[in-house]
């Protein structure tokens, strides 16, 4: 076979593989949308489940997921942003810094079920919070840290050095420079990381299995020490543990969860693209 023929064949095969990779994604999402859209109406989203959860809505699971997501943000945002500031502005190239970076890479790689175990051992049992929103938010929070720290760090280092030098040459201290000159310009990038991390946290089941998730609670949570239902766990139980559960409800729940995580993911991508485009430096 001539080189030109090999070239053409290679391009065809590579494109074919790309189709094999990308087309199923579209197929899967369309399939969930088509199968689930019929179930979604105002009642489904706002009513409590009835009749052994085979009727009614999934409102408590939706609220639970939103509450846990907010909790994750509260837990991980401050620490992660401060840690990113440390890495970007204060860290020197020494062993401590390398250890910190190594730790972050490791945190990113720890399996979600191991986070669940840690959450169980540390927050539910040792700290005595019991299965609660608090334990769940803490577990999800530390799981989200790596994503937020690394995107925040990138966003901060992307701010041109001139901003800092000019600010400090005008007499501002290091922290004042960071707070007034660097952070505001890094905020969109930091936000991207946050939203992306939250979209992961919203979709995770393993970390909440033993730390907060409940099969059925008749009321919405009143305090952070309560258990709550949550969408990923709800999808898990209704698809495997409730006989006679209509498939339509299963697909509807899957779709709601998918829409929430997808919206957050696309929001993060959108913010990042618009920031990159608008950047005037």
């Amino acid at each position: 076979m001539s080189r030109q023929q090999t070239q053409r064949l290679a391009v065809i095969l590579i494109t074919a593989v790309a189709v094999l990779v990308f087309v199923p994604v579209i197929l899967v999402i369309s399939y969930v949308i088509l199968s689930g859209i019929g179930t979604i109406n105002w009642e489904f989203l706002t009513a409590m489940p009835r009749n052994g959860m085979t009727e009614g809505g999934i409102m408590p699971a939706i609220v639970g997921t939103l509450v846990l997501t907010m909790g994750t943000a509260i837990v991980s945002m401050p620490v992660s942003i401060l840690a990113a500031i440390y890495l970007a502005e204060y860290a020197k190239d020494n062993k401590l810094t390398r250890t910190i970076r190594m730790a972050i890479v490791n945190l990113a790689g720890i399996p979600s079920i191991v986070y669940g175990l840690f959450g169980l051992g540390a927050f539910v049992l040792a700290a005595g919070f019991g299965t609660s929103i608090l334990a769940g938010a803490l577990t999800l929070g530390i799981m989200t840290m790596p994503v937020v720290i690394s995107t925040a760090e990138e966003a901060i280092t992307a701010v041109p050095q001139q901003f800092r030098t000019v600010s400090q040459s005008l007499g501002a201290t290091k922290w004042q420079t960071i707070r007034h000159q660097v952070l505001p310009h890094a905020l969109p990038g930091i936000l991207t990381g946050m939203i992306l991390g939250l979209s992961r946290a919203a979709g995770e089941t393993a970390p909440i299995l033993f730390t907060v998730a409940a099969f059925y609670v008749p009321t919405l949570p009143n305090s952070i020490f309560d258990q709550t239902m949550a969408l990923p766990y709800h999808l898990y139980v209704i698809s495997t543990q409730v006989p006679g559960m209509p498939l339509s409800i299963q697909y509807g729940t899957a779709l709601v969860l998918l829409l929430i995580t997808l919206t957050l993911t696309l929001l993060a991508t959108g913010v990042r693209t618009s920031v990159r485009r608008r950047r005037d430096w």
């Binding site: 052994g52 019991g130 905020l187 936000l191 059925y216 609670v217 949570p221 495997t240 006989p243």
Partner: protein, 301 residues
């Protein structure tokens, strides 16, 4: 708007929206809980997956009668419920098997005296795919199948195909009951265990789904979970006895060899709303729900 201001606006909007949504939804139930003087906290009811739909039905029906008593129901398996009782994190543990001596000891070691309440009876059904020609088995044959001594349907008069074993998880009371009464034939000196290729499904739905899909699968579950899409196997104590199909009748009169009690365990004698709830369950209203769901009601004296 600068990127920063826009981002901050987005974030604030998202937070406000979430807060409003949660607050708006929380208000109705908040007022209900505020009105109830007696039980501020929901009764925590956890355990057997076999019983979870029953427990849910009881909780919903009881709530309709006594609106100020909230009952939170979770599954996870009999083992999960009993462990929670031992750990002190649950008020009522549902179990489709009796507590083992070791578990009772563990509870006592933590200062908890478990009290057993029989709340229903369940016939354990053996199910296969409707296309499977085999329709009756003895306990011995079942033991051989589930320990892997018999591996092909041909040996039982069926098709030439590998037997696919489906079971509940080890935390399930149903699983333990099946292990004791079928795999070990009720003989505690036998130490056989399930064949390693047995698939342990997360719950009853897993079993019925696989049976429906797979013409060569065999599984077991509480009668209340069997639908018209699975085929029931008639079971005999031995080759000389009659083969009996599981039903509410045969479970009640004892002709079906593998029927078991469903239990609720409490830490010590129950008091207050928990005691009322359990009393209601064993009464006519609760037992009617038992029958409606396909389980065997307690014999009414």
């Amino acid at each position: 708007m600068t990127p920063t201001r826009r981002s901050t606006a987005l974030l604030t909007l998202a937070l406000l929206f979430t807060l409003a949504f949660s607050a708006g939804c929380a208000r109705p139930s908040d007022s209900v809980d505020a009105a109830s003087g007696a039980s501020q906290r929901a009764i925590q009811n956890k355990g057997s997956d076999t019983m979870v739909n029953l427990a849910l039905a009881w909780a919903e029906a009881y709530r309709a009668q006594q609106p100020d008593v909230a009952i939170a129901v979770t599954g996870g398996g009999s083992g999960t419920g009993i462990a929670a009782l031992i750990n002190g994190t649950v008020d009522i543990a549902n179990a489709s098997r009796e507590m083992k001596d070791g578990e009772i000891e563990q509870a006592r070691a933590k200062g908890i005296e478990p009290v057993e309440h029989l709340v229903a009876i369940d016939a354990l059904a053996i199910i296969v795919n409707p296309a499977n020609p085999v329709d009756r088995l003895t306990i011995d044959q079942l033991a051989d199948i589930f320990t892997g001594r018999i591996t092909n349907w041909q040996e039982l008069g069926g098709d030439d195909a590998l037997i696919i074993l489906v079971s509940r998880e080890t935390n399930s009371g149903t699983h333990v009951y099946f292990l004791d009464e079928v795999v070990r034939k009720g003989d505690s000196s036998i130490k056989d265990i399930f064949a390693p290729q047995t698939m342990l499904m997360p719950s009853s739905v897993g079993i019925t789904s696989e049976i429906q899909r797979n013409p060569h699968a065999i599984g077991y579950d509480g009668l209340g979970y069997v639908t018209e899409h699975e085929k029931l196997i008639a079971v005999a104590r031995d080759a000389a006895s009659t083969y009996v199909l599981p039903s509410v009748q045969s479970g009640a009169d004892g002709s079906y060899p593998i029927a078991r009690g469903l239990y609720m365990y409490t830490a010590g004698e129950p008091t207050g709303s928990i005691a009322d709830f359990i009393a209601w369950i064993v009464g006519p209203a609760g037992q009617q729900i038992v029958a409606d769901l396909g389980f065997v009601p307690l014999p009414q004296e």
